[in-house]
Amino acid sequence: MKNKKIIIIIAIVAIVAAGVVVASLGRNSNKDGIDNANVSNNDNTGNNNETGANNRDVDITREKQGYYFEYKGIKIGVNDDAAPILEALGEPMYYFEAPSCAYEGMDRIYSYSGFEFTTFTEDDKEYIASIVFLDDTVTTREGITLNATLKDIEKAYGSKYEKSFNQYSYSDGNCVLSFIVENNAVVSVEYALPAYSGQEG
């Protein structure tokens, strides 16, 4: 009886192994294997949504909720589809792309007059990951520019910020708006996805 059980177990393992071989032989050798070698794409990791890929907006003119940047009537928010925004903004002054090691992602940086934004790619589409001010010619919708003071920030956004060193951050759940203040002057304004740290490496 026991022998029979053992034989059955071995048979099952052998059948599974044979099934794998048979199912796989018919496949071509190129593209199908690529994504699977990249373990981060596997749904077991649960990492696909680490950049907060929800609440995406494709309409660049309609009123949005939460923190977003507006430039010449074009509304740019993190996690937005980048294609219509790029089309509306036109050719960037500078463009830089940075594939990360082993091609585990790609940062694309688009620089315009006064600001730049970084995108990430998911399912062959680009989405806005972060927006950074480059000079004081651009302003947040609430009126903060580079060189503003902490008092200005508190007046515009209130005092319910998260402070880390000299960085003051406000979050609406989808976007973190951060200001770095040095000598009581804003030196950095950034809109970013909550978990975004770039693909560098």
């Binding site: 053992i6 071989v21 796989s24 050798s29 593209k31 649960g46 830089f96 090691c101 082993a102 950074v132």
Partner: protein, 360 residues
């Protein structure tokens, strides 16, 4: 009482089952032979027969893309191996070093300090590339523990079949071809690329709220320093001459201070690009993030001279056995170089490095 015959049958059955599971696991694990070659780097060291290296490099892409051990041999008679992997974080590097010292005692260990900027694991894929290629050992277990993301499971690193089982429906001919034996994709850890993509733009450096490297990174750097001192090894800290990710002056100062306090050599190659002869129009394959073969050879020539003089590394080119070994390595190196140039001529790109990029 169970009869000896039955015990034997049980044992045979168990062995067959285990063998089948091992086979299945080998089949299901990614092979990294034709694409994402970076995943194959770590395991190559264990297949190296002659583990007698003057210099061991550890670190991320800034070592395995930017230094050529064959050039170090040909120019200075220095033997070296690069234990690099994609986005290798400092805890990966420390444990890889600890493990390497079980096989050999190099005279110099070179660590690229870019990973000081990361105080936590970034992606499971990078952990897999750093850890799956290591044989099971106490050091590997410690490295897994230090490296795991919150949503990863320790057991899946011990039995990778538990992680890769879902690949069964997506296996390709590559998985069968390299089931029992893999090709070498590197030249003593150097991942060669001959293509060129000139630097056109340097991204604006973004302000940071805090420039100080985290305690956890210093903790591992201390451990690395201590381990090298204990073993009589010279630790050299370097920052490769790549322009992105940005290397802040504040970070550079911290490394300078650390090196001074611990009597280590620290070289930020970004300060010596003219002296090295790096031309970012011809010596990089991705617009300044990594060097190509031309850039890696220039950097190796520059660095080889420094470490040979600083640490009195012998020129071993008169050693007949080593000369034979490295002549064979140099042949493979030239073959690979010619193959890549031919591919570039024919296709305009390198297949192994471009298929995923073209998918986007």
């Amino acid at each position: 009482m169970i009869a000896p015959k039955k015990i034997a049958k049980l044992a045979v059955a168990a062995l067959i089952t285990i063998a089948l599971l091992i086979l299945l696991q080998s089949l299901l694990m990614p092979k990294y032979m034709t694409e994402i070659l970076e995943g194959a780097l770590i395991s190559e060291y264990y297949r190296e027969e002659n583990k007698d290296h003057d210099v061991i490099f550890i670190g991320d892409c800034e070592v395995y893309e930017n230094f050529s051990p064959v050039t170090l041999w040909q120019e200075y008679g220095i033997t070296s191996f690069i234990r690099g992997s994609a986005q290798q974080l400092i805890w990966h590097s420390y444990y890889l070093l600890e493990e390497t010292l079980k096989y050999e005692k190099p005279k110099v260990v070179v660590f690229n300090v870019l990973s000081m900027k990361y105080d936590r694991p970034q992606k499971e894929a990078y952990n897999r590339m750093a850890l799956d290629g290591m044989p099971l050992s106490v050091t590997k277990l410690k490295s897994i523990k230090a490296s795991m993301m919150d949503d990863e499971k320790f057991i899946t690193y011990i039995f990778p079949i538990l992680r890769y089982h879902s690949r069964w429906s997506e296996l390709t001919a590559e998985d069968f071809k390299y089931l029992f034996k893999k090709d070498r994709v590197t030249h003593n850890g150097y991942l060669m690329r001959v293509d060129v993509k000139p630097l056109t733009t340097i991204p604006t450096e973004r302000k940071l709220a805090n420039y100080r490297f985290s305690d956890i990174c210093y903790e591992y750097l201390d451990k690395m320093t201590e381990l090298c001192k204990k073993n009589g090894i010279e630790l050299v800290l370097i920052k490769a001459p790549t322009i992105y990710p940005h290397w802040y002056d504040e970070w550079d100062k911290q490394m300078e201070d650390y090196a001074e306090e611990n009597n280590l050599l620290y070289i930020n190659f970004l300060k010596y690009t003219d002296e090295i002869g790096i031309d970012y129009q011809t010596d990089t394959y991705d617009a300044g993030l990594h060097l190509n073969l031309s850039g890696a050879e220039k950097l190796s020539r520059y660095f080889g001279k420094i470490i040979q003089e600083e640490f009195n590394l012998p020129d071993r080119r008169n050693d007949e056995k080593l000369s034979r070994i490295w002549a064979a390595k140099a042949d493979l190196y030239v073959q690979e170089m010619e193959k890549q140039y031919a591919e570039l001529e024919e296709l305009g790109y390198l297949k192994a490095f471009n298929s995923r990029r073209n998918d986007e």
